[in-house]
Amino acid sequence: MNSRRLFYLLPVIVFGVLCAFLLRGLSLDPSTVPTALADKQVPVFDLPPLDSQTKGLASSDLVGEVALVNVFASWCLPCRVEHPFLMELADNGAFALHGVNYKDKPEDARAWLDELGDPFLRIGADQDGRAGIDLGVYGVPETFVIDRAGRIRYKHVGPITQSDLEKYLLPLIRKLSR
């Protein structure tokens, strides 16, 4: 085989390499965003309650049972889309659902919860976003799955959909609850 022949082979070789990547890509999910805190202990925080009607949220509250921590804000449109879902997940017995109200005015958040319902057991008010930084929040909504030992096991970015719930969250929660 001479070099001229090799030149004609080049396209198919390049394509072969490309296909290997595409094949690998099929088994990856590009929409999952990794968290640097994966499988690490939840950073220590102690957030005051949103108002007199709720309990605050501290990292120590997350030990002992499987918990979902949803980071939300009243100014966030996707949160509004996600909210009915969270209402369905409330009081399910399998895990605790907590909220972190992120960079929000307490009165706005209260009006929001009064309008749409309050699915959370505890709501920590993170007005200056300091706990959000510790948790590595990119944007709202985000949802953390935390195991009994208080370690972050998964982070979901964006509103939770039915398929996210069935594909990632529920299987993981079931595994962690065992």
Binding site: Y8, F15, C19, L22, G25, L28
Partner: protein, 665 residues
């Protein structure tokens, strides 16, 4: 019942396509005319079956037959009729039926207009076309059946994504597919040529019009999509380098290269293997686009709902078609007789440089699009590649291309006199320098680099006009004589001039709207005025309005300039209750030199509304330019030399004493 007829028709189409993919190929190999003749009949039958399937699906949409799963998932009874029809291709399954319909239509067109093709070539081309149809029909039937029933039928459907309920987007997919699928013809010709081991001027002459059709449609399709993004997404931008946009742009870049290299192939009997490769690559990139959009390997704002089984199927098909054809290329292309050598400074030399730049551009877009996937697959983390990368690598490739487009059309074939040409284009250079100085002066202190974009545009536009003036000997002979010369210039030459002029418009629009856009984002109360780029925008507040299947907050602005009324603008914030989804409808007033673009956002709860006001200079020229480019394609297509039997007629006219120089153009 009609739905089942559609389903059966689609199955029949697959069976016919299987016959068409095999029998004529065998016939061509054996030189058996009867077997080869099967191709035309089968192509016709396949088209009829797919039309039946498509119409029955459309019927299900129009009559809101929610017992069909696809209709129930993507349509709604309260939707306007236009979007019921457009809804057919507003989803994965339905769009595949449109895809195969267009594929079969191109097959039919080859039968109809391919009367002058040698029988064996025609049989092979149709066979390869059918092979592609087999892939897409099985994809549709086995993984994405549009006719699947659902029981019990829901009372109403889920509706079409509100973002897609828009006239611009209703016609975006058909044009895009006409482009994508159109390249399948050039691809089929390339494969047939590789099997035959022969590429000659006649082959190139047959490939060119099909490439032109596909290219023109793709140009329109991309422009429509970008126009839609501009007024519907509400950010005043028109191109986001999103993976799906890139998926349509890559075949366009390769197709543009093919369009040019095929000319060299026809005129100079050179660049044969390269042209064949480009034909394969252009269609392969179309297929790759299909894979990226429908498999979910990349995140994008407008990827279809995805399913790994579909991804595996398309990837398998991609490997078969592209891998197979590139292997065929590796084996057969070295056997193609190389054409004559040529001088670097010549028309063909210019086209080779054009091809290098376009290929490099396509490669950079491909790399940028797939880079996140490469990194992720290597386990090296998650990255996203955005406009900074694309702008950094793309602009340096496009700038020399535009300089080249201003000069290469004036070079002669074989060996050109560069110094002569440069001496001739003094006027073009002078115009360019003047425009450049003027725009540097106007832009001083404010994105001066934009001035160079305007200079490039002026260079290309003035060179196109100058070239035309020289050809008709404007002001050198009498006006009547010039007119006669203007009429005698072949339409293909006008096509090229129009297309290049369109590029100049596009470049000006792109540059000005990127470099000198003014925007103002604020909270406004009723009666407040904001001043942007010399225009006064008076805000009259927001009223609630009802649409056919949405409610809207409709803002009202009065735009004045120096006291005179310019426009009344009514931007909307729509909410579609069926999908629980909001959309933004920007209000746009265009002066053709600029767009005034207004978006109304959310209320601040204290009587004010967030509003965004943009002044986008020259932005309409982007789409105007794209339309002029497509028009250039159409004009070129109407050239008699591209028509059936044209070569014979041309030869006769040549003997009758037509000026040879013009024919050579």
């Amino acid at each position: 019942m009609i739905v089942e007829i559609g389903h059966i028709a689609l199955i029949m189409a697959l069976i016919v396509a299987l016959v068409q993919a095999t029998i004529p190929m065998i016939g061509a190999a054996r030189g058996d005319g009867r077997l080869m003749a099967v191709a035309s009949t089968a192509a016709g039958a396949q088209w009829v079956f797919i039309v039946i399937a498509f119409l029955s699906l459309m019927n299900a949409y129009v009559t809101s037959d929610f017992s069909v799963f696809n209709v129930a998932s993507n349509s709604h009874s309260a939707k306007p009729m236009l979007y019921k029809i457009a809804g057919v291709w507003g989803n994965h399954e339905g769009s595949l039926v449109l895809w195969v319909l267009i594929l079969a239509t191109f097959g039919g067109a080859i039968v109809l207009f391919g009367g002058n093709l040698p029988p064996a070539l025609r049989a092979r081309v149709l066979s390869v076309q059918a092979l592609i149809a087999v892939g897409f029909l099985s994809f549709s039937l086995f993984t994405s059946n549009p006719f699947e029933r659902v029981f019990p039928a829901p009372l109403d459907g889920n509706g079409l994504n509100p973002l897609l309920q828009d006239p611009g987007l209703a016609f975006h997919p058909p044009f895009l597919y006409l482009g994508y699928v159109g390249f399948s013809v050039a691809f089929a010709f390339a494969i047939a040529a590789l099997i035959e081991g022969r590429v000659d001027a006649a082959w190139a002459r047959w490939v060119r019009p099909w490439t032109l059709i596909a290219w023109s449609f793709l140009t329109i399709g991309i422009a429509l999509g970008s126009w839609w993004a501009y007024y519907e997404l509400g950010w005043g931008g028109w191109w986001y380098w999103d993976p799906v946009e890139n998926a349509s742009f890559m075949p366009w870049l390769a197709g543009t290269a093919l369009l040019h290299s095929a000319i060299v192939c026809e005129k100079r009997d050179a660049l044969k293997a390269w042209t064949v490769l480009l034909a394969i690559v252009a269609f392969s990139l179309s297929l790759l686009g299909t894979f990226l959009v429908r498999s979910g390997v990349l995140t994008s704002v407008h990827a279809f709902a995805t399913d790994p089984a579909r991804g595996v199927f398309i990837l398998g098909f991609l490997i078969f078609v592209v891998g197979g054809s590139l292997t065929l290329f590796a084996v057969r292309a070295p056997l193609l007789k190389a054409g004559g050598l040529f001088a670097p400074v010549s028309r063909e030399g210019g086209i080779v440089l054009n091809n290098l730049l376009f290929s490099a551009a396509a490669a950079t877009v491909l790399l940028g699009t797939l880079y996140p996937l490469f990194i992720d697959a290597l386990g090296a983390g998650k990255v996203s590649v955005g406009p900074p990368y694309f702008n950094t690598v793309f602009i340096p490739l496009m700038a020399p291309l535009i300089v080249l487009a201003g000069i290469a059309p004036m070079l002669a074939w074989k060996r050109a006199d560069l110094t002569g040409v440069i001496a001739r284009i003094k006027i073009v250079a002078a115009v360019t320098v003047l425009v450049l100085l003027w725009s540097v002066y106007r832009a001083w202190g404010n994105a001066v680099f934009g001035a160079f974009g305007i200079g490039l545009s002026a260079w290309l536009a003035s060179s196109v006009l100058f070239d035309w003036a020289v050809r008709i000997r404007l002001f050198r002979v009498s006006a009547l004589d010039s007119l006669q010369r203007a009429i005698r210039i072949p339409r293909a030459a006008y096509g090229m001039s129009l297309a290049h002029f369109g590029v100049a418009l596009l470049v000006a629009g792109v540059t000005a709207s990127s470099a000198w856009r003014t925007e103002a984002i604020q909270v406004m109360r009723q009666g407040e005025t904001i001043s942007v780029a010399g225009f006064e925008f008076l805000f009259h507040g927001v009223v609630r309005a009802e649409g056919p299947n949405y409610t809207a907050d409709r803002g009202h602005f009065t735009v004045t300039r120096a006291g005179g009324l310019v426009a009344e603008l009514w931007p909307e914030n729509r909410f579609y209750p069926v999908q629980q989804q909001p959309t933004t409808e920007a209000a746009i007033h265009t002066t053709w030199l600029a767009d005034l673009y207004v978006v109304v956002g959310d209320p601040d709860g204290q009587g004010g509304w967030s509003t965004r006001v943009y002044y986008n200079p020259l932005v309409p020229w982007i789409w105007l330019g794209a339309m002029v480019m497509a028009l250039g394609g159409a004009v070129s297509l109407s050239d008699r030399r591209h028509r059936v039997g044209a070569p014979n007629r041309r030869r006769r006219r040549l003997m009758a004493g037509e000026p040879a120089a013009e024919v050579a153009r």
